[in-house]
């Protein structure tokens, strides 16, 4: 189980209000896409769930318990860049997570324990299609391969929550499609809750079971930092959900949908929770 509850969360840096009154319940096992304009606080939201940033006000809970205020093994992460350790080989990168857990002082495994950890690491590396590159350093990998490695590394901990911060943003369209085909089965197989920040709307709709859009509800030209972003749209993208998904899963039934028109009117749908 890995349900996340966000209750009335504000994030402020000095005078600047980044997020204001964010409320959301994320069901266990959901794949939530987070979209919104640049600088609206998408990544801040993600970092907050990660524990890297702390909310100024409000609470976040994971399965009812308050989220620890620092990153931990229950929440895996894949960043757009710098996600893997450049000084370790592909296998070493995945092995490291086992070594951290089993060797508190040296963070290094030897002998039989190393061999058994290596086997687990190899399975993960093969699982993301990096088997032939297991002994290369990340600098010798392409961007897509590095992100595959970052995913394998995050999966080694079997996190309850996987956070993706524009993970495929720097990849070319072909590679990006391959990554989509990789991440979806992995998500189903591991039963994690995934929160993915992305700029790519097609990706957001294509992968997610739910999409939230963050935006400022008001912009004061004299005081642009006075109003923070909150959840403006919250769409259910499951197959039987009410939202027609841009030609992905279902054809539009019955003309322009009520949701999209109400969205255009700027109605706040954030109160609606996901089934």
């Amino acid at each position: 189980m890995s349900a996340i509850k966000v209750r009335d969360v504000w994030v402020e840096y000095g005078d600047q209000i980044v997020l204001e009154s964010v409320n959301i319940d994320i069901a266990s096992g959901a794949f939530v896409s987070v979209v919104g304009p640049s600088g609206c606080g998408k990544s801040t939201f993600l970092r907050m769930v990660l524990g890297q940033d702390r909310p100024t006000r409000g609470t976040l809970t994971l399965d009812g318990a308050p989220l620890p205020a620092e990153p931990g093994p229950d929440r895996g992460v894949v960043f757009q860049r710098y996600s893997v350790f450049p000084h370790l080989t592909v296998l070493g990168n995945v092995l490291a997570s086992y070594e951290f857990a089993e060797s508190p002082f040296l963070a290094k495994l030897f002998g039989a324990r190393r061999r058994s950890a290596l086997e687990k690491a190899k399975l993960l590396v093969d699982g993301v299609g990096l088997g032939p590159h297991a002994n290369k350093y990340p600098s010798a990998l392409s961007g897509g391969q590095q992100q595959r490695l970052a995913i394998a590394q995050a999966l080694a901990k079997e996190p309850k929550v996987l956070l993706l911060d524009e993970p495929f943003g720097a990849l070319d369209p072909g590679t990006r499609t391959q990554m989509h085909q990789l991440i979806k089965p992995l998500w189903r197989e591991h039963g994690m809750t995934v929160i993915m920040v992305t700029h790519d709307l097609k990706e957001a709709f294509g992968l997610g079971t739910r999409l939230i859009a963050l935006d400022k509800k008001r912009i004061d030209p004299q005081e642009p930092n006075r109003f923070g972003a909150h959840i403006t749209y919250d769409l259910d993208l499951t197959r039987d959900g009410p939202v027609p998904v841009l030609g992905f899963s279902r054809p539009l039934d019955g003309g322009p949908s009520a949701t999209s028109s109400s969205v255009r009117d700027g109605a706040d749908l954030s109160a609606r929770s996901n089934p």
């Binding site: 929440r75 992460v77 960043f79 996600s83 350790f85 000084h87 951290f100 600098s139 901990k157």
Partner: protein
Amino acid sequence: MRRAMNIVPGPGARVLLAMLPFALLVFIYILGSAERRAVNPDDKLLPPISEMASTITRMATEPDRRTGTLVLWADTGASLQRLGLGLGFATLTGLVIGLALGMLPLVRAGFAPLVAVLSMIPPMALLPILFIVFGLGELSKVVLIVIGIAPFLVRDLAMSVGAIPIEQMVKAQTLGASTWQTVLRVALPQAMPRLLEALRLSIGPAFLFLISAEAIAAENGLGYRIFLVRRYLAMDVIIPYVAWITLLAYVLDLALAKIARGAFPWAYVGERR
């Protein structure tokens, strides 16, 4: 005609081009030396290479009449021991304090200004204090080298640890790493190549402090010898000694460069050939 910036010498030409300035310098020296000898057969300023070779061979192979040691090797051993100890302790200091400063905001808040101020003390100004406190023995010379280069290593290391992307620190934590494990497996290995580079840059200053300390108070050592024979205008000893010190420093530098590239190949992937 290609642009000058695009003309790259081949491997053979590279060796030849590297040797050329050296050969030129030696040639100019030989000319100068011969010229002076022709005018004054007792000239001491530019002794011929043959004379320097015989003097240095004598110092390297015949035991000294007073001490019974082979002077060149005894001097080299004593100096390298001081240098090695100094560099070793400085590296250790740099690693421990640099990693602590770079990784722990609490330590940084408390000690970074102190380190910044201490690193501005001219080490040579402290030499009299070192002689008074530690005596004229080996310790004061080693301490001078440590004081001379440790602050640079500390600050360089703290900066390079601080420059490791925050993403990697967060990633390590999401993989379950403690602070200690992050230092050991993420910060330390990534700081090592930079530490070796900093150490290479420190070899020059380290020799400077070593020779200064030896010149003022010592009973052996390369710097001691140079300043001893200076009284007799013995250029046939001084010039080969300077060349020998330079060679030692160069070999040390080269060895550190090779070690860094061998041990941390990932850090040099983007290097221009």
